[in-house]
Symmetry: D2
Subunit: 353 residues, 4 copies
Amino acid sequence: MLVVMKAQATPEEIQAVCDHIEQLGFRPHPLPGAQRTAIGITGNQGEVNRGNLESLSGVAEVIRVSKAYKLASRDVKEEDTVVRFANGATIGGRNLAVIAGPCSIESREQAFAIAEQVAAAGAQFFRGGAYKPRTSPYAFQGLGLEALRIMAEIRDRFGLRIVTEAIDAESLDLVAEWADLIQIGARNMQNFSLLKRVGRMRKPVLIKRGMSATLEEFLMAAEYVMSEGNYEVILCERGVRTFADHARNTLDLSIIPALQHVSHLPILVDPSHGTGRRDSVLPMARAGIAAGADGIIVEVHNHPESAFSDGPQSLFPEQFATMMNEIEQIAPVVGRSLARGATSKITAEASGK
Amino acid sequence: MLVVMKAQATPEEIQAVCDHIEQLGFRPHPLPGAQRTAIGITGNQGEVNRGNLESLSGVAEVIRVSKAYKLASRDVKEEDTVVRFANGATIGGRNLAVIAGPCSIESREQAFAIAEQVAAAGAQFFRGGAYKPRTSPYAFQGLGLEALRIMAEIRDRFGLRIVTEAIDAESLDLVAEWADLIQIGARNMQNFSLLKRVGRMRKPVLIKRGMSATLEEFLMAAEYVMSEGNYEVILCERGVRTFADHARNTLDLSIIPALQHVSHLPILVDPSHGTGRRDSVLPMARAGIAAGADGIIVEVHNHPESAFSDGPQSLFPEQFATMMNEIEQIAPVVGRSLARGATSKITAEASGK
Amino acid sequence: MLVVMKAQATPEEIQAVCDHIEQLGFRPHPLPGAQRTAIGITGNQGEVNRGNLESLSGVAEVIRVSKAYKLASRDVKEEDTVVRFANGATIGGRNLAVIAGPCSIESREQAFAIAEQVAAAGAQFFRGGAYKPRTSPYAFQGLGLEALRIMAEIRDRFGLRIVTEAIDAESLDLVAEWADLIQIGARNMQNFSLLKRVGRMRKPVLIKRGMSATLEEFLMAAEYVMSEGNYEVILCERGVRTFADHARNTLDLSIIPALQHVSHLPILVDPSHGTGRRDSVLPMARAGIAAGADGIIVEVHNHPESAFSDGPQSLFPEQFATMMNEIEQIAPVVGRSLARGATSKITAEASGK
Amino acid sequence: MLVVMKAQATPEEIQAVCDHIEQLGFRPHPLPGAQRTAIGITGNQGEVNRGNLESLSGVAEVIRVSKAYKLASRDVKEEDTVVRFANGATIGGRNLAVIAGPCSIESREQAFAIAEQVAAAGAQFFRGGAYKPRTSPYAFQGLGLEALRIMAEIRDRFGLRIVTEAIDAESLDLVAEWADLIQIGARNMQNFSLLKRVGRMRKPVLIKRGMSATLEEFLMAAEYVMSEGNYEVILCERGVRTFADHARNTLDLSIIPALQHVSHLPILVDPSHGTGRRDSVLPMARAGIAAGADGIIVEVHNHPESAFSDGPQSLFPEQFATMMNEIEQIAPVVGRSLARGATSKITAEASGK
């Protein structure tokens, strides 16, 4: 159910409607739009009495939302969601966002070397694994808190926003404390307890599509987070499981226009996990932007051949710089522009560009 | 790495080898066999020095295990694993195991009614959801602790062993306390934090195959549990995601012989989730047993039409009784017999069968 | 559209209705049932005028068939189709049918050796490739007419019915002339020109499911054949393409009950192509029968290690004999019995069984 | 096996090597390159004696080709294949090729109206179905020869090259006579008899990827054609079957860089069949070009709502014009330019652009 407020409704009227919804035993989700505010109603205790709501002051209309996902749906919020970060970076909206960095934080030296290079090439976000969900219990599981501390230093030094994955309640509390954007991995896309806990955080979250998730299941994962009050959700296509064996996964770019048709949430593309092959990352990054994605998340490593994980799919730093230039050229075709980070600009000026 | 002890090795010699492995910074996993004990070695701190181990008293040979999964592999333990329960029930080995019950525990009355009927038909295990991993945050999420208490009563009343799903750390602690067999659902098959936590329990665990998990990933989930010292792992095929639309999932029975070729762990089949269609459950339950499975886990409901979840795939109690008779007839073809619960026998006698 | 005749309708009345349908520019398909005859109407020139038909003598009712497949549907023919062969063998109905033989006919010696052994074990049908649809143009493409001649000799010598694949118009004409059952392979399941040509033959046809065919597409392939007047169509599940890598294909046995629910056509299972692994063929043959299939088609070779094609999935003759015994034991559970060929019975008597 | 000729080898020397290969019972495939000619050797009668070949005049070296596909491999021909057409149009190489038109030719009026509009927007190739491989025998099967004649008129009137599908031997002979580019549809990608027959034509062929074809199977289909001497083969990605339900198929763009890595053949993208949704066609056309494809094949209809087939995925003519502009802008990023047809240029001049 969705309460659409009148354009001229006052904050007090909006608050009064929210209070009334709570008194009925439901949860109100006020969603401000450009013209007017809508208030989503969730809760599984039964049907809301529409009549009472329609008679409240400032209410324009009450609408039943028929899709399984509600807060994630364009029926509830027509305008694209733009997630804003401290340094002015955004995900969603006109600017393309680029998140780059190594699969795993392996050491302070490795992380700093890569961060310097991706910042110079214009990335605004730095990714690096601190807690790694590895298929084998015997494989490297990440440096944990030490990695989070290294990334916090990188934020201070290079002005990059930090993105890293949380894999359980304990790591989530730490990631939420140290990072700017919490990543939920493909294997946890239906870890509903974790999603609810992320929903109680007040920090943006990036949800990767599960390996065999349908569009609806993907949006329902977002809905789990949003139903708890965290509306800063970013989606990420990273390839699905099929019979095809020429790539590690099959990157399903056609989900981008399909998602944009029904949801207001931003959607990124991960061509590194999506293909698992370095020689396919640039083509698929370009393709992702051309298909209308809001940005790219990509693995970059200064020594991919000796990376602790995902070496074969990591770009060399110079390839990443090429990728940035290529997607910058495609951006205007889809009504976008590439936002380059502050460090990048300085570097560009210094180099006389 | 695997240390194979001599047939006549003493418990003291075995213990000495384990102590030595721990001193090297690795973890020993003593795995008793019919002829002799093998000791698996895990830990990701590097290579074990084979020479030192071979010179220890009672050691027959030291073998490198090349597969990604080690403790789950037949290379490490040749004999089939048989998991034993308090009332004499087993999973694995000669007797077929049958787990039956509703998708969700909805009330004491509903649960008791179904339990009575599945017990009468010969089930030894009762399943019922207390914590439900639902695609929608707005769907019924289970009765939680109340459901666990109801199932504990059912154990006392009908002598059935209790199987229920844990979905996170909190529910796991409760499930481990109240149930006999901890279920890890398909969506959590690669929730590695949860798997490690289950590995530290000393209670049998049933792991359902993820919707797009390969055979190796499935066994690696088992390996996560075993690497922490819990060796009572049961696998369960429950269908995978494909293009086919005549059933909710595609039940992949050919994984049964493929798993049995490389692993000693028991494997059950879930024809309810595997097909999602009541009219396909009996055929696929029969097929699962004919393919060599160690048993069946199946949803039974006394009023499927009004079930809180999974109604369309739940058997009526009389269909379940038919299923028991049919798999009992197939059992001898695959060198098995159907173990019926104590209640069943009494009922059968009472009814003059 | 379907015209259901009255139980007491005379052959003349049935013929008159067929004539009338033809005059309207459509094609009548008289389908005799146990109680009464139904007449399917096909043709894509528009809508049939129901009123005229209902007023004809002997007509009970005129029904619109809403499914895409019509002649293949149980709505049009409720009773199971049983395809009958010259030596009394049948496919469909109470008796299980078994088709066995090598992937390719390699020589007269090889074919006779295998035929003798599968006949002795009780097969009623002999399969062998004369025209091979190989992925590589450089691979063995079959002996062609020579193979057909060898198989005709085998029919005479062992009383086995001959099954072999047609891959194009030329081979179809020859196969229809020399064999008893025309096989259309998975790669040609949507070769509609070939299907129509088969439809104009008056010889039974076995259609293998395409590697990514849905249930509806599978039945539409049958419909192509039936719409041309050949109603002796047998379906065959042989595995589909999925991400799973433990077998060459994923054998989708749950299509058996799903097909039987909507169609009257017989359905066989091919566990050889369905798994590609010899050690999985017997388990999946048993599972197929347990799931309700009407029989098995399986590859048997006397020297699999030197077979021209498909060696790794071919059974040794003694494994085939075991398979026959196992499915014979499962047959009564699904209301069936295994029909063994005449040669087999003689052999069995001679050997004092 | 591959014979690489010296750069200065004469035509007589090349011919002598070809003659020698034929005498050995194999088939020579002379493949001219920018620097020198290579001669592929095919035939399945066994091993070629390398020594004899190496001693022939003009031979630089003899190389064993280990991949299953040989003539389609970059090992045999390093430079990209460019297929050239009468009016100067090309597929492969620097210029992007665009093929547009309706799914089916429905009438002269419909075809001309669409042809005029796609020509005006700059298409160089016109597609239209004359022989339709329809899932249902009762669906519109195409106008056949009449459609071919209409398209020949369109070639004369608008200077467009004609692309249409052949579905069997009969239609192939006609298509080869009337069209400029023979299309082999996804359902016939492994119709090996048809592929061989196309291989004996001397006309370019477009092969669409089968719905569950791997990269190797796709190239083996090309190899079938090439092994018969027709080297003008163009590949086309058109989506594969997966569990995903937000589009009719899953367009697998990552096969583009993967194919280009191993093969010299051009590769087009079909976003119409690849998505089945009009609102996804433009995004995926842009993405295809950005991923490095050599062009686009797309369905355009002037009245999609009343199209005989594939209406929901057909672009309106004005959307097609937008698509042309968008891919023209992306072209330089991937080192390409969009070749617009002659009609288009005139129109553009006339309209004062």
